[in-house]
């Protein structure tokens, strides 16, 4: 790991500790007083390092200006803030430098009599010491400290506006007060947390990921990272959040409409591929429920981007009559193991790591504990799917059927894949036009007179998604009711998850 952000010159710019860059307290001696390293020999050491202790008499004998990382009393200079170590890109202690006219002209690390003599021009150094002793790791490259150092000294390249919270402000209340949360507490997006989050992707922080409705704001990788921190994501989740945002902001998903509608819907994220297990997502017991950090925070991060970057807030552009609990977060992984189906994303043309977003509206249970043949189970599915949105409304609202492993086993043992089940359901979900007409069954809702032929399919082509998830036990599946589908509304979108 480099102590310096990529793209930032390290050794090539040895006077980065020049005027104006020393932010340590007034009592701390700055390098060289004028902010420049003193000419001559300069060393950085750590008292906890046996090699540094070994070379102490050598350094004192040479009269070197020595900065110590962990004990401000050991030598004349204090680098316990690690600023100098960070700016000099010190990776190993001891590091010995030769400075001429404020510029580093030579450097050696660890102890090597030959190299120290060459650098200093002094013969017979370290009498009684071994010829060679490797150094220790610099505190400035300690993984636990590097993000904070980069945020403080690194010219981190973060473009987001920095907001100073007053000392008397409770930081969690401060974030609520600024309107940045979904009603639950969020993790304060400090620069070091955002930098750490950005390590989860190789993409440039300035790259625009998507143009986010409703305000149509170009959203960078960095802004996604800020919101992923708020949501509680780990850095390794970031690529999935980025892919979910790309998918949700694709034109055919119609996110503006999904947000603005009085209907219940919000984005439901289904994750496929090895990435799901790698980042610890849940596709098993309670897959649609609480308790898994990746599931919970990836869906939440997407919604926070829509809220904070896109400006989509409930009661403003979001006009949902009731909404649904999944508008806080709704994200799960498909259970690809022992599934009767090919992975959902692969069936939609994106094999491997991918996300699929669907405009979904909460969970409707399907209970069938007796069907042991696929035909019977399909009829149960059809009967439950028929009431999606309203039993008399065909071709309008999409749905996602989440088949559980025990139901999946029935299909698998019958050799039914996704296409076969879809074909069976298509046959079972042809609704007689007479039952759908306005007024039929004593219900005003329904199709206007004259628009339906003899039979009408319940779902538009492509309007019924199927996925596989859940725990081993339970002859239950789930229907996630959808919004208006297809060109008139939202089309599900699948996108690759890129590192």
């Amino acid at each position: 790991m480099s102590a310096v952000p990529s793209g930032t010159p390290a050794r090539a710019d040895p006077v980065r500790c020049g005027p104006g860059t020393d932010r340590r307290g007034a009592g701390a001696p700055g390098p060289g007083g004028a902010g420049q390293l003193p000419d001559g020999l300069v060393a950085v050491v750590k008292r906890d390092c046996p090699t540094c202790v070994l070379v102490e008499p050598v350094l004192r004998g040479l009269g070197a200006a020595v900065w110590c990382q962990d004990d401000p009393t050991w030598f004349d200079h204090d680098d316990t803030a690690l600023e100098l170590s960070y700016r000099l890109d010190v990776e190993t202690v001891p590091t010995l430098l030769r400075i001429e006219d404020g510029v580093e002209t030579a450097r050696t690390v660890g102890w090597s009599r030959e190299q120290w003599e060459a650098l200093t021009g002094v013969a017979g150094l370290g009498e009684g010491l071994p010829e060679h002793r490797p150094g220790c790791g610099s505190l400035s490259v300690d993984p636990a400290r590097i993000d904070a150092l980069e945020a403080r000294y690194g010219g981190s390249g973060l473009a987001s506006r920095r907001i100073e919270l007053a000392d008397l402000e409770d930081e969690h209340e401060a974030l609520f007060d600024r309107g940045w949360t979904d009603g639950l507490p969020v993790v304060p997006p400090t620069p070091e947390r955002v930098l750490r989050m950005l390590r989860g992707t190789t993409r440039d922080p300035g790259e625009v990921v998507a143009v986010v409705p409703p305000d149509l704001v170009p959203c960078t990788v960095e802004k996604v990272a800020v919101n992923a921190v708020l949501a509680g994501c780990l850095p390794e989740y970031l690529p999935v959040v980025l892919a979910a945002l790309e998918a949700a902001c694709a034109e055919e998903f119609a996110l503006h409409g999904v947000l603005a509608t009085t209907h219940f819907a919000g984005p439901v994220v289904v994750v496929n591929g090895p990435v799901a297990a790698r980042i610890g997502m849940n596709s098993g017991v309670n897959a649609l429920g609480q308790g898994n950090r990746a599931n919970a925070t990836i869906g939440r991060a997407l919604q926070l981007v829509v809220r904070n970057v896109g400006g989509g807030r409930p009661g403003e552009v979001d006009r949902a009559t009731l909404g649904n609990p999944g508008k806080t977060t709704f994200c799960f992984a498909e259970r690809e193991r022992d599934s009767p189906f090919a992975p959902l994303a692969a069936d939609r043309g994106v094999p491997g790591d991918a996300v699929t977003v669907f405009a979904g509206s909460g969970v409707q249970p399907v209970v069938d504990q007796l069907s042991r043949d696929a035909g019977s189970l399909a009829r149960s599915f059809a009967a439950c799917l028929r009431v999606n949105a309203h039993p008399k409304l065909p071709m309008a609202f999409d749905a996602m059927l989440v088949v559980s492993p025990e139901h999946g086993r029935v299909l698998r043992e019958a050799g039914w894949d996704r296409a076969r089940l879809l074909a069976e359901l298509d046959g079972l979900l042809r609704l007689p036009a007479g039952e759908l007409a306005r007024g039929a069954g004593g219900m005003a809702e329904g199709l206007p007179p004259g628009v339906a032929a003899d039979e009408v399919p319940k779902f538009r082509p492509g309007g019924l998604l199927m996925t596989h998830a859940g725990g081993d036990a339970g002859l239950f599946s789930a229907i996630v009711g959808g919004w208006v589908g297809g060109e008139m509304g939202s089309t599900p979108v699948t996108r690759e998850v890129r590192a």
């Binding site: 973060l158 987001s160 506006r161 920095r162 907001i163 100073e164 919270l165 007053a166 000392d167 930081e171 974030l175 940045w180 304060p188 997006p189 400090t190 620069p191 955002v194 986010v212 305000d215 704001v217 959203c219 802004k223 800020v226 919101n227 708020l230 119609a254 503006h256 409409g257 509608t261 926070l304 904070n308 970057v309 896109g310 400006g311 919004w483 208006v484 060109e487 008139m488 509304g489 939202s490």
Partner: protein
């Protein structure tokens, strides 16, 4: 002092004032935009009748779907041809 990064788009949508309300609709061009919600035509048909009685010239427009924002061309056309617009949302 703790520092956090702004999670918003750091933009504010421009606020444009509404045009002044016309004193009379006599001779004005009034656009009626049907957003394709069920029965939106019912209210717009009646409005068209009433507007005609007030001497307004009524122009009818329709979004392809209520689920998406109006196409740019449609917005442009309405802007060029209408002095007043009424949009029907309702079911």
């Amino acid at each position: 002092m703790r520092t956090v990064l702004d999670p918003t788009g750091e933009r504010r949508a421009p606020e444009r004032p509404l045009l002044p309300r016309p004193a009379s609709l006599q001779g004005r061009s009034v656009g009626l935009l049907d957003i394709s919600k069920a029965r939106g035509d019912v209210v717009l048909d009646r409005l068209a009748e009433l507007l005609g009685e007030h001497g307004a010239t009524v122009r009818r427009y329709r979004k392809p779907t209520f689920a998406r924002v109006a196409p740019v061309d449609l917005r442009q056309e309405i802007t060029e041809h209408c002095e007043v617009v009424i949009e029907a949302l309702a079911d």
